[in-house]
């Protein structure tokens, strides 16, 4: 299933690499990726989409939340459904 994640990230050196590296290392293929600054220049918003089943989605959300630079991970579709 197609999922879109919205990730708020501290704008640190290497932070983007760590998110992308986590997905690669755990075998999740990123379809699209967009990074842009927010109103706070120290924070970036990373929007990415990927194909995975619901169990994998839960795991990738949890693993992404373990990255120290990550402020917030949202899955807007789940948020809307809830």
């Amino acid at each position: 299933m197609h999922h879109t994640l919205s990730i708020l990230l501290q704008n640190e050196a290497g932070a983007l690499v760590r998110v992308a590296g986590l997905f690669a290392a755990r075998g999740y293929n990123i379809d699209t990726l967009n990074v842009a600054p927010t109103h706070d220049p120290a924070v970036s918003r990373l929007t990415l989409s990927l194909q995975c089943d619901d169990a994998a989605l839960g795991q990738i959300l949890q693993q992404t939340r373990k990255l120290v630079d990550v402020l917030q991970v949202a899955h807007p579709a789940t948020a809307l459904a809830a």
Binding site: L8, Q10, A13, G14, V17, R18, G21, A25, G58, Q59, Q62, Q63, R65, K66, V68, D69, V70, L71, Q72
Partner: protein, 623 residues
């Protein structure tokens, strides 16, 4: 000088050195001192020279302040390995044996890349480390400079976190934060990459302050403050009281969370038998009647049969790793209810769906559950299950060929154990000797068993023993190693004698990679590709003597075993014992890759419940 910072620091607990001018390197060393670091493991080099010089001057100054004319006792001992990988495993051994953060300091490029294996190993086993790496100057980063490596990229993929300090003003807070990150939540290694110009920058020491890390700290607070409500406790006990054959599956989290006493209290209250993972050994006294010792691929037959038979599993700081739950859907197949407590939310349901879980500190969770169950007068009636477990232990004990003319490795471990009885710190390499040690030693208390559990890094044992001896100078430290594993970091034999450490090194020599051979026998029709070392020329005893071991012997005869082991362990100083073991000795029981516990092979000397199915030609992609 920074006026607002000074103002903020004018409190009673203001650091005595706050406001002092220091170089970046001095700031690093001062933060280490403030964190209580008394020993560093590391190797110098161009890009880290300022920090090594600052350590030297710190120790000289402390010695003068203590009134010593010369540095008799160094405040921050610096232990130099043969290879940076050794330093990393020493720091990890120190951390595992003490519960404190282990610290390693290495130079840029090869120094840092040699540290990758210990960092990944510590991540996989949740061991707190702080690794400080020198880096080429900020202006040279990305220029393919001499001894440059992209450390934040490389380490970012295998550490809990990595900082590249490009702003010297952030250095002090970054190093302090590294310790908080390493020890908090699920512990792990944190790497701080410090360019040489940052080490040389003139700074004003603040004496306090950490990086904000809003996301991490918010999540950490939520986990650390999580408590079990009445409904949570009631739900768990409802299931437990209905269970007839409940079992605890205890992992390394019991050790990391300092929860062994709380586990003891829970078991005393409710009587659940305990099976322990490789990382959890020492979390529950293995000599207890309710202890099932090790479960999993090379677990005891009685532990694995108990897992087959149980109807309720409480997983404590354990993650259903593939060495325990090789086939997750066949793990504990009769369990009607599985509950899990872990500090890491990502581990809940990662491998095995659970019916009840709690994410939070394990010790508090166990204490709360014990108090709740006692307050409600809950007492599971487990007499029949206890009798069943006792019968499993009686009918399927660990055993081996006790009549063989060749020295059996199991007998060596048993002979050492008769002296140590779970009170020595034991480190290992990886392979058969590691499993024999895990199976045949008694484990009475946490932090006495140091092994590379998840990564399975050969060469771990010797440097880990060195680190542990620095952490526990009065404890007997034994490295149980294999001939192939010890070769990987054999240079550290010299480190043992250089620092005069009374470590006992025993090499179970089966002339090759025994575990690889065992798999080749089982799954590759006995083609011993690259695992036979009978043509290798190494004389381990001569090697140990050359490195200054005052006691070094080779043991080949069964009748020499007891007296030689006694003499070896009693020697006052570094001692090295090579034991030529039966090269065909195997590790049993064995739950093969892709097999269930019911299909466990128990070998010729451990009674099996059922004849194992033979599918010798099956090629498994499991590992």
């Amino acid at each position: 000088m920074n006026a607002p910072a000074l103002k903020a620091d004018t409190t009673t607990d203001r650091h005595p050195l706050a406001g002092h001018g220091m170089s970046g390197a001095e700031v690093i060393v001062q933060v280490l001192a403030d964190e209580g670091v008394d020993v560093l493991f590391g190797y110098s080099g161009g890009a880290i020279l300022p920090v090594y010089d600052a350590v030297f001057r710190h120790n000289a100054m402390q010695a003068r302040a203590d009134g010593h004319g010369e540095a008799m006792h160094e405040a921050m001992r610096l232990v130099v390995p043969a290879n940076e990988q050794g330093a990393g495993f020493m720091a990890a051994g120190y951390a595992r044996a003490s519960g404190k953060v282990g610290v390693a300091i290495v130079t840029s490029g090869p120094g840092a890349t040699n540290m990758v294996t210990p960092v990944r190993d510590s991540m996989a086993d949740s061991i707190p480390l702080v690794v400080i790496c020198g880096q080429v100057g900020t202006a040279a980063i990305g220029s393919d400079a001499f001894q440059e490596a992209p450390v934040s990229n490389i380490m970012g993929a295998c550490a809990k976190h990595v900082f590249l300090v490009t702003d010297a003003a952030q250095l002090e807070a970054t190093v302090r934060t590294a310790f908080t990150l390493a020890r908090s939540g699920r512990p792990g290694p944190v790497v701080v990459d410090v360019p040489k110009d940052v080490q040389n920058t003139a700074l004003s020491f603040r004496g306090a302050g950490e990086l904000a890390l809003a996301g991490y700290r918010t999540r950490l607070r939520a986990v650390e403050q999580a408590t079990l409500g009445d409904a949570d406790c009631a739900a768990l006990f409802d299931a437990l009281m209905q269970a007839k054959r409940p079992l605890i599956y205890a992992g390394g989290g019991v050790i990391a969370a300092e929860a062994a006493d709380a586990l003891r209290g829970f078991v005393d209250a409710f009587g659940l038998p305990v099976a322990t993972t490789l990382m959890g050994l020492g979390g529950f006294d293995s000599t207890d009647p309710l202890a099932l010792h090790l479960l999993g691929m090379h677990g005891t037959a009685y532990a694995n049969y108990a897992v087959e038979d149980c109807d309720f599993v409480l997983a404590l700081g354990a993650r259903f790793d593939d060495r325990v739950a090789g086939v997750p859907e066949k793990f504990a197949p009769r369990a009607k209810f599985i509950a899990q407590v872990d500090i890491d939310p990502a581990e809940i349901g990662k491998v095995k769906r659970v019916g009840w879980h709690h994410v939070g500190p394990l010790r508090q969770a166990l204490e709360r559950l014990t108090a709740w169950g006692r307050a409600h007068g809950l007492q599971p009636q487990l007499a029949a299950w206890h009798a069943h477990v006792a019968e499993l232990k009686r009918a399927h004990p660990m055993d081996y060929d006790r009549t063989s003319a060749l020295v059996q490795p199991y007998a060596v471990i048993e002979a050492i154990n008769r002296h140590t009885r779970g009170r020595a710190i034991v480190s290992t390499g990886v392979g058969q000797h590691q499993m024999w040690a895990a199976q045949y030693f008694d484990f009475r208390a946490p932090r006495h068993w140091l092994t590379s559990g998840s990564m399975g890094t050969m060469g771990f044992g010797l440097p880990a023993a060195i680190g542990a001896q620095f952490a526990q100078p009065r404890k007997l430290v034994i490295d149980v190693d294999g001939d192939a594993s010890i070769r990987m970091n054999l240079g550290e034999l010299e480190t043992v004698t250089t620092y005069g450490l009374p470590i006992k090194v025993v090499v179970l020599n089966n002339v090759g990679d025994g575990m690889v051979r065992q798999w080749q026998k089982l799954y590759f029709k006995g083609r011993f590709a690259a695992s036979d070392k009978s043509l290798h020329k190494k004389d381990f005893v001569l090697a140990a003597q050359a490195d200054g071991f005052g006691w070094a012997r080779r043991l080949q005869r069964v009748d020499e075993l007891e007296p030689v082991i006694a003499e070896f362990l009693a020697f006052d100083g570094p001692a090295f014992l090579e034991v030529m073991i039966d090269p065909d000795a195997g590790v049993y029981p064995m739950v093969g890759p892709g097999a269930s516990y019911a299909q466990m092979i128990t070998g010729d000397f451990i009674a099996s419940r059922a004849a194992p199915a033979t599918d010798e030609d099956a090629t498994s992609h499991m590992f």
